[in-house]
Amino acid sequence: MTEHLPIIIILGPLLGAVLAAFTAWFRPRLSHPLVVVGLAISFAAALKLVFIVADAGAQKYWLGGWGEKVIPGQKEPFVVGIQITVDYLNTLLLVAVSGIALLTSVYTKRLVDTELAGRQRYFYALFSLLVTGLLGITITGDIFNLYVFMEIAALSSYALIAYGRGRAYMAAFNYLIMGTMGACLYLLGVGFIFAKSGTLNIDDVSAIIPELGQSKALFVGFVLILLGAWAKMAFFPFHGWLPNAYAHAPTASAAILAPLATKVATYAMLRVMVTVYSIDYIIGSPGIQSLALYLSTFAIVVASFFSLTQTNLKKLASYFVLSEIGYMVGGAWLANKPGLTGAMVHIVADAAMTSALFMAIGCIVYRLGQAQLDDLKGVFFKMPVTMAAFVVTMAALIGVPPTCGFFSKWYLIQGAAQAGVWHFVAALLLSSLVKAIILFRIIEIGYNRVPHPAIEGNPAIPRNEAPLSMLIPTAAMALGLIALGLGTSTLVNTIIAKALPAALAP
């Protein structure tokens, strides 16, 4: 049974999606519990695999038993099937994706029922399909399979965004154009690698690439894959589609898309950089390295400035997502030990932080109906638990210890200082500063623009929290940020340190 765990991670949400789409015809109420069960199975399998991987190293699984075959007359066995791999690099992200998806699926039920009343029929089928795609990207050990899962995730996210109607259609269309361009560039890069190496299996490709030596085709393939991944993750200068898409999408769609979609694309880039090509390859191409670092700095600075001018909470949060992408890409391209550790920790930490942020915003939207900053007057008295979770999340985004945001940022700054990339250090600090300003602005609006209820003669603001099915996941996620922060060193020592390439200088 345990040897089949890797495939169960994908099968849970995939079967959930198919069954949910079927039951939506005759018994729509059944589709939500089916999806939750599918995600729970996937989460349990992912959690079990973390321990197996920490003990026994990478787990490999051949789909349908089509493993390595020995052809008569040939000495070396060669790969015929599609491999899926759970190793030190992706096991934590698998838990993060399936866990966040499980919590979000419970959390969004009430939100979907009110926000999409009457047309929520296929929402959870799409939701589950999106999670299938994201888990597939994370787990696959085959570069073409990664493209297919990328498009499964992308197609369901276009539909989830278009659920918002009105302006969401145009936002989804722009996302579709940008996303398809990214996926096509990725596919073209895969073509270059395939033409040179003759295989699509990630392990095989990484064994063959060093033998091929300097090759222009491989370099072009690398650049194309990189551009594709950047377009998918909304990295500067391909970021135009993201703020509108997430701000006009229904809050329930944004709550699952914002934390996971961009993070998983970042993982795909990291996988190509670290495993498919080697870290030596990256250090050997200093031109792209410095370009990527400058772009990360720009991404962080531009997103920070734009976030200062926003008046809508959802759009504000989307710009936070953009600046966090700059953190991860920059960390990965530092190509030294603390930088890569920081990027890997930050992928998981940022998925959790963004999820908590959008959950808190969802609670606010559920009660207040919208999320303009000016509507937040007195919200701290009205929704104390939600706002406590919100403040913890913002503290994590700023990087206050002991939340997880502090530790990942610490690694990133250490890495940047070691590599002497001071503009990236400055951008990281600037981004923290901007987030602190925004947090204090929200506190100022939420607390101070209304008379304090304790002052005599002022009517008390009635407490009116979001329903428990939304409040508990929000609070759990916010507490999880602190727990993740306290557990960071354990995770780094037992898992992430082993995912780093051995050739890396300390």
Partner: protein, 126 residues
Amino acid sequence: MENLIANFNYVIVVILMMIGLWSMLAQKNLIKKCIGMAIFQTGIILFFISIGAKDNALIPILTEAANHAYPDPDVAKIANPLTQILMLTAIVVGVATLGVGLALAQKIYQQHSSFDEDEILENQRK
């Protein structure tokens, strides 16, 4: 120049992809963007097919009978079947993407009675 003629398939692929990319990014009309997307994908499909093609290649089927007829087949003479199979998947993905794109374009047209990006943005600002 000789190099270009020998590799004319790649030249066509590049031209197709550039037309598609330009149309996706620079055209204002949503339907033209969708067409550009389809052309871009077609370029990539052609690219994959042409890297798998060989002159006078054998069919890549390994059966008992085929093993008897060609006991020691020259691998360099057998066509690579993988690229065609990959492109079957890519065509399916492309059709699905085009379908979603056209559905969105239709919804936008119902709202704004226009496919022109500038006009739609103008409408949204009101």
